[in-house]
Subunit: 106 residues, 2 copies
DNA sequence: AACAAATATCGTAATATTACGATATAATCT
DNA sequence: AGATTATATCGTAATATTACGATATTTGTT
């Protein structure tokens, strides 16, 4: 019928899948790369960097925020986004570990 | 309105997103882990390992195959799946590199 | 207070994903 | 050849994602 059977899988498997899903759009990859390139958190012009409408970018930002990968700090009238260091490191650890443990047989 | 604007992003960004998308379901994570756990390629009973119908598992296998992450070798009446070593290593490299290059600012 | 700027949310349309039963296909066995 | 087994594909329903215009919200400015 269509809805994911998440409850049938382990918490870790779901965590990995959720993380991968957060990265599963080129716009979100681009957003993370842009935030990373700025070495300060003075970012509020992400919309100008992407070929997408303000509403759509906001939606992608919300997806990254929900995954915990970025934070948004209110900075006057605008919002300064940045990578959530702690969550990012955890995500990196989780994914890296998964990537390494998958072994080939032939 | 609704279809991804893939062409507006770099090939690498799309490659990363496609790879992440292939991993963006717990069933596919579980399949990869199961294939990895078997140290030979005698795999054809993935359906029994998952709480999903044969048709659905086949669909997930097709997704992993399309992403290049697994191969299926015809082995008599059944099919023996295994991790595609070369493609997996490339994917691992691509993703690991991305994970490492994203830097936090605060 | 009125206005402008930045961002989020709503409503909605198009498309994609997930899931499964039914059926097709292909190989092996009797 | 006919039956059996393994896997893929089709059809379809439910749900999720992507995209954007319009509108709401929040904050700073005049």
């Amino acid at each position: 019928m269509g809805l994911s059977k998440k409850e049938s899988f382990s918490a870790r498997q779901n965590q990995l899948a959720d993380l991968a899903r957060a990265l599963a759009h080129p716009a979100r990859i681009a957003i993370l790369e842009y935030l990373s390139k700025q070495n300060a958190c003075i970012c509020g012009d992400i919309v100008d960097q992407l070929p997408l409408s303000q509403a759509t970018v906001s939606q992608h930002l919300a997806a990254l925020k929900q995954a915990g990968l970025i934070r948004g700090n209110i900075e006057g009238a605008s919002i300064s986004y940045c990578i959530n260091a702690k969550a990012w490191n955890e995500a990196k650890e989780l994914l890296s570990h998964f990537l390494v443990t998958i072994k080939q047989c032939c």
